[in-house]
């Protein structure tokens, strides 16, 4: 391009129909029912009698163009050149010819893409940025996901959980990974170290003060210069002050631990949507494979698998058996940190004699 400026076309969100599989386009809004033929495969039938088969495969999300080109080659040769992605970074190949399903699965397996993630399986972990790209990560994201999915591979390619299991990971307490049946969230465990020499030059102090969720930051004069100070007893080490004020150094090599939360549910099926609850904290942040985390996630999954009824999500299962039993079954310690002290905490206490013995 020459020195002529190209004017941006503010085209916004593009039209999906141009990329959609023709059978999906033709039967848009006219689907009648679906069945799951085997893990990783969905068969949808429209009222017009048309069928489409979907083969779902896991990806690493952070893909090199070579991997994407490889997936394209598979879609051209074994599929019908139309794919889509799910919210959990799985790729879906749609075919209108059932005979393509098995060869497509075989090819995906040969190329190292696991086929699964449907129905009552453990689907791909919802993925954040971590060391690769974020500014306040206490741990990585891609590595945590890879390490865990290696361990949960069999649960991705099988459908043998009571209901679907969504897992998320987050590399700080902002929790970009989101609500999930099981969420693995890192926490910084030390207040930010303030680089006072820089605060005066870089930071708009009122907006940093306003950013803190627990009002722990105060303007202060340090060495004769305007700076900030943190009330360390109040600070919850969330790191929210770092993006507006990089001298609030939250990233720290030693002081971070992982926590596990369970029972988040976004669907309205049966029970109303729910937020996840803390079950364990203090797990070591040990790259590259975080073994203590995988071990505990697998233990919780095992208890759920053995004890929950069909269709119960993790949170619904614990709701039925009660929290004391959950801690008993998993052998996890119950501590004062499990008792909420945030706004609305009183609604999370037991105001009854409903106790299981």
């Amino acid at each position: 391009m020459s020195d002529q400026y190209r004017e941006a076309v503010e085209s916004g969100v593009p039209d999906p129909f141009q990329y959609m599989h023709p059978v999906m386009r033709r039967n848009y809004g006219q689907w009648d029912w679906h069945e799951r033929c085997r893990p990783g495969v969905l068969h949808h039938r429209s009222v017009n009698g048309d069928s489409i088969w979907t083969v779902r495969a896991g990806t690493q999300r952070q893909m090199d163009t070579g991997t994407i080109r490889k997936l394209c080659a598979i879609a051209d040769e074994y599929g019908e050149s139309h794919v889509r992605f799910t919210i959990r970074s799985n790729i879906e190949f749609m075919v209108s010819d059932e005979a393509r399903v098995v060869p497509l699965i075989d090819k995906l397996n040969d190329e190292g893409f696991p086929v699964g993630g449907t129905g009552n399986s453990v689907s791909m972990i919802s993925h954040t940025q971590g060391f690769l790209h974020c500014d306040i990560p206490a741990t990585d994201a891609s590595g945590v996901v890879k390490a865990l999915m290696d361990e949960l591979y069999e649960e991705f390619v099988n459908e043998r959980m009571p209901n679907r299991v969504h897992i998320s990971t987050s590399c700080c307490q902002i929790n970009c990974g989101g609500q999930a049946d099981i969420a693995i969230n890192i926490q910084h465990t030390k207040p930010p170290m303030i680089n006072h020499d820089l605060v005066a030059n870089i930071c708009e102090r009122p907006s940093v003060v306003a950013r803190c969720p627990v009002a722990a930051i105060r303007p202060a004069i340090v060495n004769g210069k305007p700076s900030l100070e943190v009330d360390e007893r109040k600070c919850i080490c969330c790191g929210a002050c770092y993006p507006p004020c990089p001298p609030m150094q939250i990233n720290d090599p030693v002081n971070s631990k992982l926590a596990i939360w369970i029972g988040g549910k976004n669907s309205n099926a049966r029970s109303k949507p729910s937020f996840m609850k803390l079950v364990a904290a203090g797990l070591p942040n040990k790259p590259p494979r975080w073994p203590e985390v995988s071990a505990l996630v697998k233990k919780i999954l095992k208890c759920y698998q053995e004890d929950a009824r069909d269709w119960e999500r993790v949170g619904e299962w614990v709701e039925r058996i009660g929290w004391p039993r959950f801690f008993e079954k998993t052998g996890l310690p119950f501590t004062r940190f499990h008792v909420d002290n945030w706004k609305g905490a009183k609604y999370t206490l037991n105001h009854s004699t409903h106790i299981r013995f």
Binding site: Q60, F85, P114, F131, P137, A138, G177, S267
Partner: protein, 412 residues
């Protein structure tokens, strides 16, 4: 030009195991991209020191204020080639549909102008073209824009939206997600590209109450498909299902799981539903996919104020509109108008860095409703107030409003 590759003993351990390895892909890119060689070096450095090394900054394309996530390395002296590693957030088509020709064209752009590392997709719902130098941002954007794609949101702006696969392939879908998604989002391109709101504002569209897009928990305005008439039942399919699974299974997994106990399995293996007490939870329809489907008088429920943790803790969306039709061009326009009214009110009254749900929490739902001109309805609450410390001397006036509205509804 092959560059010296850094030793990556930690990352190397993530190449084994059955799940696809991002490290293997990064290493392939590092063979011809010095930027990726140094990126791997920095990532390994992070693994060794358990510390992140990126900071933000300001990078944009001409005419826009957002859409790029700038990343500058704090260890550029050690890893100079990846000292700038910005991300372009690019909005995919609703439902994230692609054909292979398009995906290859996007790869071509990215091999030419960027690192070759593409995340499909970020939590924001964008394609994330990760790893671009400041000097290449404009050319990368121009090439992507030529393919018919536009930047997504970043900063205090309307953000990239997401919608489920919905009507394209899912029999549960109760509205045209793709059209609603585009009509709404493409009415806000200015607020998307030029951040000037209190904080982020997210729309999400789910075709039914299964809410595959997590819209109640993750969006400021959630548009969720639902229906008003009866669940459609194919009794012959019900009988087949009962024959196949047995009466006990149906009793235990369908009937007794209904949250309002509004279903009954009759002696002759058919289903009866008290639809006036069904809360449209989707459970029975999810289990008996062939026998049950949503009704035909379809529309959407709209909830507002959902968000993640920062700053006052997670908030669910709250019902704003229990039901409205979404079929005609006028229906879509009214949806856009409602969104505009909400955003205008929030832009005016929200504090800096305050999400809509936090504004509502701070001022109270009724003040918010008054501000946007929406009347209260019992479907907005889980239960009425239980605290008696409230002033209610305008009771008769408010009750009269309700009576008038009810009379109006009956007249209509």
């Amino acid at each position: 030009m092959t560059k010296k590759q850094h030793d990556t003993p930690n990352l190397d351990q993530l190449e084994s195991g059955p799940w696809p390895s991002f490290v293997t892909g990064f290493k392939r890119l590092a063979q011809d991209k010095p930027m990726m060689a140094d990126l791997l070096g920095q990532l390994e450095h992070s693994y060794q020191n358990i510390k992140g090394y990126w900071k933000g900054g300001t990078v944009t394309v001409r005419g826009y204020g957002g859409g790029i996530i700038p990343r500058f390395s704090e260890v550029a002296d050690k890893f100079p080639e990846s000292s700038e590693f910005h991300t372009l957030r690019v909005m995919p088509a609703p439902g994230m549909h692609y054909d292979t020709e398009l995906l290859r064209a996007l790869c071509d752009v990215w091999d030419e102008h960027g690192s070759g590392l593409l995340a499909l997709h970020g939590q924001s719902g964008d394609m994330m073209f990760q790893g671009c130098k400041s000097e290449n941002i404009q050319a990368a954007f121009d090439a992507i824009n030529e393919l018919g794609f536009d930047l997504g949101g970043a900063g205090p702006s309307v953000r990239t939206s997401m919608s489920c696969v919905g009507a394209a392939r899912c029999e549960h879908s109760c509205f045209n997600e793709a059209v609603a998604h585009r009509q709404v989002m493409n009415s806000f391109t200015d607020d998307l590209h030029r951040p000037a709101l209190p904080y982020k504002f997210k729309f999400k569209f789910s075709g039914c109450p299964n809410d595959c897009m997590n819209s109640i928990q993750r969006s400021d305005m959630a548009v969720i498909g639902t229906w008003r008439d009866d669940i459609r039942i194919k009794q012959d399919e019900v009988r087949k299902f009962v024959m196949d699974k047995g009466r006990d299974y149906v009793q235990e997994n369908v009937i007794s799981r209904c949250p309002t106990q509004c279903m009954k399995l009759t002696k002759d293996d058919t289903l009866e539903i008290d639809n006036s007490n069904c809360v449209r939870c989707m459970h029975c329809i999810n289990v008996m996919t062939k026998a049950l489907s949503p009704g035909l008088d379809r529309g959407v429920t709209i909830l507002v104020g959902g968000k993640r943790t920062l700053k006052i803790g997670d908030l669910f969306g709250t019902v704003l509109v229990p039901f409205r039709k979404l079929e005609t061009q006028q229906d879509y326009e009214e949806l856009v108008e409602l969104a505009e009214t909400i955003i205008d009110f929030w832009a005016e009254n929200g504090l800096e860095h305050e999400r809509l749900g936090e504004t509502i929490e701070r001022i109270g739902l009724t003040n918010f409703l008054e501000g946007i001109g929406v009347e209260v309805e019992p479907a907005m609450v889980a239960q009425p107030r239980s605290n008696s410390y409230a002033r209610m001397d305008a009771w008769e006036e408010e009750a009269e409003k309700w009576r008038k509205r009810q009379a109006g509804k009956q007249g209509a």
